[in-house]
């Protein structure tokens, strides 16, 4: 994947020390993580627990302060080794400003494949790194789902014991939440947002790199829970159960804290980029609808993630320093955790969904060969979803004992969300209306997105209504509901977007016939799995149980069999992706979907600083009636610069 650029070469012959360090960033990062963990663990468990006599009770596996401080310092050590502190510390020590050459190097210029394994400030490299990382999360999380379904073949414990089962449930759910919160924002917003708004870079490129490089430590820290006894709380981490848990709980807390940090920082970076870095002529009114969805999502992330970080910090203090925030006997309240968590948790599900809405609406016109119908109202819908998502979180707590007088409001606000989401359907229908729709593979995934999300939305109505929620709350109906929205919605949009954007991101494409087979396989098995689970939930099966009533077994077995097919067809997608793109390297057409978006007008591979010629004369990216591309390109400019932002 060499960069083809018309610009003059930037690299000088002799690499500087900073560059050499950066080349080995990943290795240094891992060394830093190990050193950080050992130092933190020694400080936490030795100095705090024993020397000062405080801290949590040490067990054979260690102590909570040691583990938590070890995790925190290993994350810090990892980022330090990766080179995130080189610039600020270097400047503090009086180093010169980095030259344009240094910045171009940091941006991945001439880096070949190696730039994907070090810290770079190129949003395109970061997008690809995100894509690989979330696919890895999806794969590991999916394996967890297969184990869970295998266990649920029988109504009594069979292949797992209670502790390992609950740890699996917790790992599957938490890892999938990590995946879902970055599935669209990570790869596609990072890769395409700057191109779509005509800028050479993000507002805070180093910060952007950090939002990605927080993911590997977060994932590894979460997975390391298996060495510390696991955790039994699922992804919701309810206290005081979390206070009871063994050391494995600390992995969940620190992993989630890092993900929260990543979501919040990514949001701030994207807001700043969209607000300040748009090319001249790229007015808000001309902004692609995907960029609008990223803007809404970024506000959600920047405003909601702090609540999560606060909550997990409080829980960390509870587990280490006797702060009893959530323990009633100590004057705390379990409701505090529930509220902080869901105040983050509900906007979080729209952090998953809003970029999926945006991406689907971005792709749709290319297949309908028509402009996006009702663009303004569609954008208004996403903004409406974003605003409403902050006032609905109590619907997770309808049976928790909240004051009955509060319930009608949250029922009302929750049901209101179907108005802005309904608008997304109106926009889709309007766009496809009287169109000559091309049923290319991404279009099939878009269709599945709307089909699945429709079921997800309608099951949500039953959960928003308090009397029916009394029956359905915390049952498999809820589980099926959010799998319909997040997997059926977001992950199907993700798969469609991968097929759609791979030709631009890698210059390669996937075999259409195999993909069509894969699409129908994944669509049918997905629906088979979760329709079974909707039924089993209505019949009273509770979530997260290893044992269930015997009469529920047939439906559970049907869900499991479909789930195996689902797992296989998801693996097939990954297999096709790896085979075609990495091994066979099937070359893609330059603009296979004949899209008018500006991201399809720049060369493939995209130049290091995006534009050899600057886009001018912007218009809407979907003028399929006139065939006018989103932007014209001005005269060639040197591919330098972008450095003014670093």
């Amino acid at each position: 994947m060499d960069v083809v650029s018309t610009a003059r070469p930037l690299m000088s012959a002799r690499p500087t020390l900073a560059r050499r360090l950066n080349e080995w960033g990943l290795l240094l990062g891992l060394i830093g993580a190990v050193i950080g963990f050992i130092a933190g663990y020694a400080l936490g468990s030795g100095a705090i627990s024993n020397f000062y006599g405080g801290g949590g009770e040490p067990t054979s596996l260690g102590s909570d302060p040691g583990i938590l401080l070890g995790y925190a310092m290993s994350a810090l050590g990892f980022l330090t080794g990766m080179g995130f502190l080189n610039y600020p510390i270097g400047r503090l020590l009086g180093a010169k400003r980095p030259t344009e050459e240094d910045n171009a190097y940091l941006h991945g210029e001439g880096g070949g494949l190696g730039r994907y394994f070090r810290m770079t400030t190129d949003h395109k490299v970061i997008g690809m790194q995100y894509l690989v990382m979330i696919l890895a999360f999806l794969f590991i999380g999916g394996l967890g789902a297969m184990f869970i379904r295998t266990e649920l073949l029988t109504p009594v414990p069979s292949v797992a014991n209670a502790q390992s089962y609950l740890t699996l449930v917790g790992l599957h759910s938490t890892l999938m939440i990590f995946m879902a919160s970055a599935a669209i924002m990570g790869p596609f917003a990072n890769y395409f947002l700057p191109i779509m708004i005509g800028t050479r870079n993000m507002a805070f490129p180093r910060l952007e790199a950090m939002t990605f490089w927080l993911l590997p430590p977060a994932g590894l820290i979460l997975l390391s829970t298996v060495f510390l006894g696991g955790f039994t709380t699922g992804w919701t981490g309810y206290a005081p159960l979390a206070d009871q848990n063994v050391l494995g709980m600390d992995s969940y807390l620190m992993g989630f804290a890092l993900i929260g940090l990543s979501i919040g920082l990514a949001g701030m970076n994207m807001i700043a980029t969209i607000m300040t870095m748009r090319a001249p002529g790229m007015a808000l009114s001309r902004m692609p609808v995907f960029v609008w969805s990223v803007l809404v999502t970024s506000f959600l992330g920047a405003l909601a993630a702090p609540a999560l970080i606060a909550a997990v910090l409080m829980e960390m203090f509870s587990r280490t320093y006797q702060a009893t925030f959530f323990i009633p006997a100590g004057g705390g309240s379990p409701y505090l955790w529930e509220n902080l968590f869901w105040f983050f948790g509900h906007p979080e599900v729209y952090i998953f969904m809003v970029p999926a809405f945006g991406l689907v609406m971005e792709m749709l016109p290319a297949f309908a060969r028509k402009p996006l119908w009702g663009r303004r109202v569609g954008i208004g819908g996403m903004v409406g979803v974003g605003v409403l998502s902050f006032v609905v979180w109590q619907h997770h707590l309808f049976v928790s004992g909240i004051a009955p007088s509060l319930r009608p409001f949250y029922m009302f606000s929750t049901e209101m969300i179907s108005v802005p989401t309904g608008i997304i359907y109106l926009v889709a229908l309007g766009t496809l209306w009287r169109a000559h729709t091309r049923f290319s593979t991404p279009m099939l995934f878009i269709f599945a997105f709307f089909f699945n999300f429709l079921i997800g939305g309608f099951t949500g109505v039953f959960l928003s209504d308090v009397p029916s929620d009394f029956t359905l709350h915390a049952s498999y109906f809820v589980q099926a509901h959010f799998h319909y929205t997040i997997m059926g919605g977001e992950v199907f949009a993700l798969m469609g977007a991968i097929v759609y954007y791979l030709p631009k991101m890698t210059g390669r494409t996937m075999d259409i016939r195999l993909l069509r087979f894969q699409f129908w396989a994944v669509f049918i098995t997905f629906n088979g799995t979760f329709i079974s689970l909707i039924a089993v939930g209505i019949m009273g099966m509770t979530r997260r149980v290893i044992s269930y009533a015997a009469y529920l077994q047939p439906l559970n077995d049907s869900a499991t069999i479909f789930a195996y097919g689902l797992g296989l067809s998801m693996a097939l997608f990954l297999g096709i992706l790896i085979w075609e793109v990495v091994i066979k390297q099937r070359v893609a057409a330059f603009n296979p979907w004949e899209s008018l978006g500006v991201e399809w007008q720049v060369p493939t591979p995209v130049p290091t600083f995006n534009f050899d010629r600057m886009p001018v004369s912007w218009s809407l990216p979907d003028n399929y009636d006139t065939g006018k591309p989103a932007a014209d390109f001005g005269p060639t400019v040197p591919a330098l610069s972008g450095a003014e932002h670093e």
Partner: protein, 283 residues
């Protein structure tokens, strides 16, 4: 053009048949959680009405999607499309938004009314044991559900606060469940009665239901509460006739007599201050 008109009519008829047929089928189908209590009936009714309202809309969206993708398309190469089909149409958008708003508002109003009329006093929770309970003309029988890892125990304050491991309720008697927990968050779920209430330590979560059908039922915990959450269930909860209930109470009172002095006094919540200290249980 004539084919399109025919196809449009076919789609419309298929949708009407599906919508009406589905709604009729729903009306005759068994709707969970059933009719074993007034609360369950009201939840059943709500689920039924929501499903009756949702199914035509759901199938309409699917029909519209199918219609748009398959029927209402134009032949290549792209022919002219009217301006309103191109970039948006204010009237269509307004109608759509107003319609969804009206549907949503009516569902919300219905839910609020159902909440106020059908399930009064449900889920009132207090953190103080002394707050007055909702007044009611037909005196409810208070039954306390105490959740702990990983089982439920029940106390009957009307009968001297006796404590039992099995839940037995008299039929056609209004029951006021007082749900609390001794350790972590649990949730008490009597599925057949439509009862679900989180058990939160130092909190008294109240939910009222009148069982109307004698039988043996399952109660279970529906909030992840640790290792054996999946096994925190009991298939022997019973609703019995009034006479059977008195007989059972007498039996339990006799059984409990030797241990009554070790039980903490009845209270809506239990904390370290009113729980016996470790070792006190031992005679």
């Amino acid at each position: 053009m004539r084919n399109r008109a025919t196809a449009t009519r076919v789609v419309l008829i298929v949708w009407i048949v599906a919508a009406v047929g589905g709604d009729v089928a729903l009306a005759f189908g068994p709707i969970p959680p059933g009719q074993a209590s007034d609360l369950a009936s009201s939840e059943s009714l709500t689920i039924l009405l929501l499903a009756e309202a949702a199914w035509p809309v759901f199938s309409a969206v699917l029909a519209a999607l199918f219609f748009t993708l398959v029927v209402n398309k134009i032949a290549p190469p792209t022919a002219e499309v009217s301006a309103s089909a191109l970039r948006g149409n204010t009237r269509v958008q307004t109608v759509w938004i107003v319609t969804t708003l009206v549907v949503v508002l009516s569902i919300a109003v219905y839910g609020t009314v159902a909440l106020a009329i059908d399930v009064p006093g449900t889920g009132i929770s207090t953190t103080s044991a002394s707050l007055p309970m909702p007044t009611s003309t037909d005196q409810p029988l208070e039954v306390q559900v105490i959740a702990q890892q990983w089982w439920f125990t029940y106390r009957y304050p009307a009968y001297g606060g006796i404590e039992t491991a099995q839940l037995v309720l008299p039929v056609n008697q209004k029951i006021q469940f007082h749900v609390t927990s001794l350790d972590v968050i649990h949730s008490f779920n009597f599925y057949a009665l439509g009862v679900k209430a989180d058990a939160v330590p130092l909190n008294d979560n109240v939910i009222t239901a009148t069982p109307t059908q004698v039988g043996t039922y399952r109660v279970q915990c529906t909030e992840l509460c640790g290792l054996w959450h999946g096994n925190m269930a009991d298939n022997t909860a019973m609703v019995v006739s009034a006479s059977d209930f008195s007989a059972w109470i007498q039996e339990q009172t006799a059984l409990d007599a030797p241990i009554m002095k070790y039980l903490p006094p009845y209270s809506h919540t239990y904390s370290g201050s009113n729980l016996p200290q470790p070792g006190v249980y031992a005679p």
